[in-house]
């Protein structure tokens, strides 16, 4: 009876379901798979709602990176006259801004996700991980819009994408898992301690300044080891290696650190999220 069109709950409970204290994990991962359409609709909802009743619509996704790129290019490229290592300064900034905005949107979105969907949590069952996942989806789609902008800008400056681009999905994944790991921690903590509602925007604000968005890591050799403590440094460098191609060193150490940290955060974040999940409906 479980064709491809059966309801999610159907195939998930072919065998009987036991509800007991501490048994929430039964069928969890298969349920998660069966609720994939919900993930899709929640993501669609957030994207559609965001640009409803706006005159510019999806243009808003572009305005912020464009303005930031112009300002950063002016401040770092012109005023501070930092070197871009032979690439047009706006491209350098935009290539750094891309991963940062992806990370920042994914982290702030997933951290706030449970609280902003409190009505769903207290009224209906589904694997709660769907909610932070859908926030990642929203961030990823915004990212694709800005990536398209980057491609246009890159061609405008007469630069053709190289084979380095093939590695991009991997680094997107690293940025997303970093955001997801931290986001899973924050969103589960926010359910209980609303303090984290204020902590995350603050962290991200600080992050803008301690990430090499407006400048290349090559121009600050003295502070390099300090900069490397920020896991986004490795991701930003890797993005620049992909997108700018020539003249950009591949920093294996930086990206390895980011990958290891994202794995640790995701593993522990999932553990904490799952541990707290069964009390969400009671305390949210």
């Amino acid at each position: 009876m479980s064709g491809p069109s059966t309801s999610p709950a159907a195939a998930a409970s072919q065998d009987e379901l036991i509800i007991e204290a501490g048994r929430a994990s039964t069928h969890y991962w298969s349920d998660l798979w069966h609720y994939r359409d919900l993930l899709r609709f929640l993501t669609l909802r957030d994207i559609r709602v965001r640009y409803k009743q706006t005159a510019l619509g999806v243009g808003w996704a572009l305005i912020q990176p464009v303005v930031t790129t112009i300002i950063f290019s002016f401040v770092f490229g012109k005023l501070a006259a930092m070197s871009a290592g032979g690439v047009p300064y706006p491209l350098l900034v935009l290539a750094g801004l891309l991963p940062w905005q992806l990370f920042s949107a994914a982290l702030s979105g997933s951290s706030a996700s449970l609280i902003s969907n409190a009505n769903l949590i207290s009224k209906v069952y589904f694997p709660r991980l769907i909610i932070p996942f859908s926030a990642l989806g929203v961030a990823a789609i915004d990212f694709l819009v800005v990536l398209a902008l980057y491609v246009c800008a890159s061609l405008w400056f007469g630069r053709i994408p190289s084979w380095h681009w093939a590695m991009l999905p991997l680094f997107i994944l690293v940025a997303l898992t970093l955001a997801f790991g931290a986001g899973a921690w924050f969103t589960a903590l926010t359910v209980k301690y609303r303090d984290f509602k204020y902590i995350v925007p603050f962290l991200l604000q600080v992050g803008v300044f301690i990430s090499p968005i407006g400048f290349s890591t090559g121009v600050v050799p003295r502070w390099r080891s300090l900069l490397d403590l920020n896991p986004m440094t490795g991701v930003i460098d890797a993005f620049r290696w992909c997108l700018l191609s020539d003249g950009q060193p591949f920093d294996l150490r930086g990206i390895s650190f980011s990958i290891v940290l994202s794995a640790l955060l995701t593993y522990s974040g999932l553990w904490y999220f799952r541990r707290m999940e069964r009390t969400f409906a009671d305390i949210i």
Binding site: P4, S5, T6, S7, P8, A9, A10, A12, S13, E16, L17, I18, I19, E20, A21, G22, R23, A24, H34, Y35, D37, L38, R40, F41, L42, L44, R45, R48, V49, K52, Q53, N119, L120, I121, S122, K123, V124, Y125, F126, K192, Y193, R194, D195, R278, T279, A281, D282, I283
Partner: protein, 408 residues
């Protein structure tokens, strides 16, 4: 009714810790508490200050079985544990102890239009809400036309639901829910909303699917007529425990005839005019009316018997009261020394909530007896709006506002 039960609930209890949220809501509170208790431990000779977190058992040792095709009605007062039981059965929250075995896929409908987004169109909300209720995209697409036809809102399908009337909103939400096809359907007080005709349509749909497809339904409602028409068996919950269990008619009768809607008073030691009973008619409540019956007895004929009735909020603030004297020429009963006075309110200007009734007894010139806040009852308003602000914001009164706009 043969074979193993489809749902087996064994000794299910649910404990909530009162004040838990308030105590721990921010990190600062948590840290302050930690520091305080550490300081207390360090202080020599300090008596151990034990913080007692108050416990509250929303459910206590609830057990029952349900067979395939049975429709179970759950009755009980507000706070009796009905919603907690449904939340546990729907896997929204875990039981503290006990065990439930379900042998079929379940879907629950604890609220009308959960997850409806006002900015999205009717069409978009059908897909979103369907997915929230556990349907797959393909399943929703297959039933889409049927859902739209059932909801009777074809013309507004591409209008954002924030422009819908509450009736349209509820109809669309119900239409989606009505097309769920689980083996076990868990439904909370949702039929209290929507117009009478649509309610009937929904009830018919529920009885249709239970009869033809052998679906098992668990159903909470204050509407005894609805319960009687679709349920076969009933459970009466009182203070988290099962107070009665059996065929729905017996269960309802037992529930409705307990102190829930009625208070009786013994004769006072000194003989004087007194109130013998105060009763809020549950059948009238089910129809959205309030009917209060006040029984009285007096050593001498009261000329005329005057009864006063006051409806108060559950916090005890008087909201609407009147008495026979105020009725003037419209009500001039015979002098009598015993009887029952019935006070009816056909158009109740109140939102759904728990209310208290006070009763007074007197004659043309003076009061003899009063019973304050003696009967508590749940009023379920036939008017309902899904985006209604909470009652502590807008108040209990529902006076039927009229709106107009002069655009400049």
């Amino acid at each position: 009714m043969t074979g193993d039960p489809i749902i087996t609930v064994e000794n299910v209890s649910k404990r909530y810790q009162l004040g838990h949220q308030v105590l721990d809501d921010t990190l600062r509170d948590r840290m302050a508490r930690g520091i305080r208790s550490a300081a207390e431990r360090l202080r020599p000779g300090a008596r151990g200050v034990r913080r007692t977190v108050e416990e509250f058992w929303a459910l206590k040792d609830v057990s029952f079985e349900l067979h395939r095709g049975q429709v179970l009605g759950i009755v009980g007062r507000n706070g009796a544990g009905k919603s907690t039981l449904l939340k546990i059965l729907s896997r929204i929250t875990e039981p503290t102890t006990g065990r439930i075995r379900m042998r079929g896929r379940a879907a629950s409908l604890l609220e009308v239009g959960t997850g409806f987004h006002p900015e999205l169109t009717g069409r978009e909300n059908v897909y979103l809400n369907g997915a929230i209720l556990g349907m797959s995209r393909a399943e929703i697409a297959r039933k889409f036309d049927e859902i739209v036809a059932f909801s009777e809102i074809e013309r507004f399908l591409d209008t954002p639901v924030k422009h819908y009337s509450s009736g349209m909103y509820v109809r669309l939400a119900f239409a989606i829910a009505a097309h769920l096809e689980p083996e076990i359907l868990i439904v909370d007080e949702v039929l209290a909303v929507g117009d009478a005709q649509f309610q009937k349509k929904c009830l018919n749909k529920v009885s249709e699917v239970t009869r033809s497809d052998g679906r098992t339904v668990l159903f909470v409602s204050h509407n005894s007529a609805a319960l009687q028409s679709i349920c076969s068996v009933g459970i009466w919950l009182s203070q988290g425990q099962i107070a009665g269990q059996g065929p729905i008619n017996e269960c309802l009768a037992a529930y409705l005839h307990t102190g829930n809607h009625r208070a009786d008073f013994p004769a006072p030691a000194v003989e004087r005019p007194h109130i013998t009973s105060v009763h809020v008619d549950p059948r009238a409540l089910a129809e959205g009316r309030i009917e209060v019956q006040v029984g009285f007895k007096s050593p001498f004929p009261l000329s005329p018997p005057v009864v006063g009735v006051i409806i108060s909020s559950k916090l005890g603030y008087p909201l609407a009261g009147s008495n026979g004297r105020m009725a003037g020429k419209a009500w001039q009963p015979q002098p009598t020394s015993a009887g029952v006075v019935t006070a009816c309110l056909d158009h109740v200007p109140l939102h759904s909530d728990t209310y208290l009734i006070s009763a007074y007894l007197g004659d043309a010139s003076m009061d003899y007896d009063q019973k304050l806040d003696v009967v508590e009852f749940d009023y379920v308003s036939p008017r309902f709006h899904p985006q209604m602000p909470p009652l502590h914001v807008i108040g209990q009164g529902d006076f039927g506002w009229r709106w107009s706009l002069r655009a400049d």
